[in-house]
Amino acid sequence: MLRVVSGVSLVAERGQVTALLGANGAGKTTTLECAQGLQKRSGGSISLLGQDPAAAGAELRSRVGVMLQDGGLPPSARPVPLLRHIAGLYAQPWPVEDLVDRLGIGSFSRTTVRRLSGGQKQRLALAAALVGRPEVLFLDEPSAGLDPQSRQLVFELIGELRDAGMGIILTTHLMDDAQRLADYVYIIDGGRNVAEGTVQELLQRGPAVEAGADHVRTLAFDAQPGLDLSGVLPADVAVLEERAGSYTATGALTPSHLAALAEWWAAHDIMPAAMTLQARSLEDVFLDISGKDIR
């Protein structure tokens, strides 16, 4: 038996966006599909609205909306008749016209699914997941293929649904999405959840933070390869030459650290070709936890 997920434990609350964050193949979709009742699990327990999703009846399914990673929409269908058909499966669906307006589906309502762009398919799949007015919404990689305008629209809607009390569980490998949308994040790696917390809590993780610093930043600069920067910055600032000539210094950087580095550059007649200073991001946390190796 192939074990894809073993050691994931998570709770998603109403009125919150809970994100499962992980690299491709980490086990996010498998976790989600077990929670939706789409895959049989060989062990463990799952409670969805107080019931086991593997034995879900129509009553439970009517309270849950699902947007699959591959859409799951028939290629020959046209958006509005398809949404009307799905709406008919519920006692009190979301009015299809409202949903079509809300997600900008009207502009491609007469186009078959097979001819829609990736972003249009995503919006239609989201509408199909929402048309039953669910209490719990599962979104598998919701921003895949979305153009910037569609992404803004979808993110605004997710925020409104969360504020209206819907429990939203989404998977993503895009750190920006999780940082922007999620109230609570589980980082999944190798089929296990390896870290969890609010975005702020996760940003506070790391060696420098544990040493007592409040704000971790990364200074990145490009200069000639092979510089020996030892002793320029304190030991709790991690200095790396990530590629030949590309350096990062990560830690609780202060103005005096920047001044010391600039002084050292001046003393050695070094003028960096490029330089950025960034606050620690969720991506930094993710790479710290799961490593930088390609899986």
Binding site: R14, Q36, G37, L38, Q39, G57, A58, E59, R61, S62, R63, V64, V66, L68, D70, G71, G72, L73, P74, P75, S76, A77, H85, I86, G88, L89, Y90, A91, Q92, W94, D98, D101, R102, L103, G104, G106, S107, A128, G132, R133, P134, E135, Q149, S150, Q152, L153, E156, L157, E160, L161, A164, G165, M166
Partner: protein, 267 residues
């Protein structure tokens, strides 16, 4: 979508269901809706219409102008129509439904619909309903053309004939789902089309066993195609129920249905 349309859309308020407030539509309505949706999809598909209506009608005309069926009944058309009705059941329930289900599986449609109140059971029930609806239309068209060509079925044959046609459709639906649920859709396409041609020509469905090569005569009676063809000819030619053929169809339905339940992969 442009920025102005996104801005206008924001006026529509969001309205998730109240906790515990959402309910599914009644079971009967869900199955009826799915059956209607699938039947319309099937009828709008040009290739499916060719397979379901055009080819059976061409075969019907072909059998009335050639001597293959001479001596088996009062007229060629009387022998031909029951076989063509059986061919219609195989077209729709096995080949058409199998291919559609195979591609629905490929595109994740089965997985998505199984997360809605329809569920897996409702989805299968909807597919069976759509097969029956399309089959009713096929019967109407073939019977009308047959009557126009001089078909004179035994009056007592209609009830057992139509019931046996439904039983044959059940057997072929189970076989179609078994193929669609276990192999890739491209393989489903190849297998179901190939079997349609082979069984149509040599499976005892439109050409009775006694007119087939000796080697084929020994086995066609045990195939669902041969059993359905024989059962329908006995019903419409003689008003009789062929017990052996009926039993074979029941066995195919049970075995293929059980195998489909056991091995059908939704992913």
């Amino acid at each position: 979508m442009n920025r102005s349309s996104a801005g206008a859309a924001a006026a529509v308020p969001v309205s998730p269901g109240a906790p515990g407030g959402q309910q599914p539509a009644p079971l009967f309505r869900r199955i009826l809706l799915q059956g209607k949706y699938e039947a319309l999809a099937m009828l709008r598909n040009g290739e499916q219409l060719i397979l379901a209506v055009v080819l059976p009608l061409l075969a019907l005309v072909g059998l009335t102008v050639t001597p293959f069926l001479d001596g088996l009944g009062a007229s060629r058309i009387d022998v031909a129509v029951p076989g063509i009705l059986a061919l219609c059941a195989m077209s729709t329930a096995f080949t058409g439904q199998g291919i559609a289900t195979g591609f629905d599986r490929r595109y994740g449609v089965l997985r998505f619909l199984s997360t809605t109140p329809l569920g897996r059971g409702g989805l299968i029930a909807g597919k069976v309903l759509s097969v029956l609806v399309v089959l009713c239309l096929q019967v109407a068209v073939v019977a009308a053309v047959g009557l126009a060509l001089g078909w004179q079925p035994t009056a007592a044959g209609w009830v057992p004939g139509l019931l046996l046609l439904a039983l044959g459709a059940a057997a072929f639906t189970a076989l179609g789902l078994l193929v669609a649920g276990t192999v890739r859709p491209e393989a489903t396409l190849a297998i179901t089309n190939l079997l349609w041609i082979l069984l149509g020509a040599l499976g005892g469905i439109v050409i009775p066993a006694e007119r087939l090569p000796a080697a084929a005569q020994q086995i066609v009676g045990f195939l669902p195609s041969g059993a359905l063809g024989e059962a329908l000819r006995d019903a419409f030619l003689h008003g009789a129920v062929n017990g052996a053929a009926t039993l074979i169809l029941v066995l195919w339905t049970i075995l293929a249905g059980a195998a489909a339940i056991r091995w059908f992969k939704w992913n």
